[in-house]
Symmetry: C2
Subunit: 107 residues, 2 copies
DNA sequence: CGACAATTTCGACGGACGTCGTACAATGAG
DNA sequence: CTCATTGTACGACGTCCGTCGAAATTGTCG
């Protein structure tokens, strides 16, 4: 059986516990913003290792944790790989236009 | 005559120099977010002293500087008072929906 | 079983950031 | 002129945050 007692239980805040402050703080880092852009471009689940950002994997894990706790991304564990996806529906429902506005910016 | 040589020249980035990263970083602080909310609610120019935030005036000055350098607010000097206003047009043009999405959040 | 691959966790370090108090400049009123 | 008002500039302090490397866990494949 899978012994995952040592792993963070993959906490995802429900929609009504998401705050705009946490979301903004999550998006306010260049690396995390790039992660969000790649997730938005992929339009599907993406494994951590596929993300192309100029930091170490442990740092990616850290950033994904912040994005997940803010409710920006959802994570699904499968074997040794963890698949991440954008919580577009929840974000659009709570802060309509926010994500689209961010993604519309030139870069 | 007005001797304003010692004052920061009230730099406002033109629309094409505004970045979504700077805007997000500016909005990612609770005090600054509250300032933006009050400016949006007022829908007119607001003097620094009128803003109701739980920090010192010098801190308010600091936050307004960050908001201004990010292109979120515009400042106009008149006598000893400085009037601040939201740069709604520029924000909506560059990041359509962003500001509205932020302001739509419950708080 | 043993080696390897995919990620996380932990501890540590350095820099960035929010906050304040004080001093200072400019304006307007008495 | 004098003084109160409005706001900025500067320096300092403590804390949060992004970053890394090394170690550990889990699953997969010979």
């Amino acid at each position: 059986m899978a012994d995952t007692a040592h792993l963070t239980p993959l906490v995802h805040p429900p929609r009504d516990e998401m705050t705009v402050e946490a979301v903004l703080r999550a998006l306010a880092d260049p690396v995390r913003l790039e992660i969000v852009r790649q997730l938005a471009a992929a339009d599907t689940e993406v494994a951590c290792g596929v993300l192309e950002v100029p930091v170490t994997k442990s740092t990616v894990t850290h950033h994904l944790g912040i994005l997940r706790q803010a409710g920006v991304v959802a994570g699904r564990q499968e074997g040794t790989t963890r698949y991440n996806s954008l919580r577009r529906n929840d974000l659009d429902a709570l802060f309509p236009g926010l994500l689209d506005g961010v993604l519309a910016a030139r870069h």
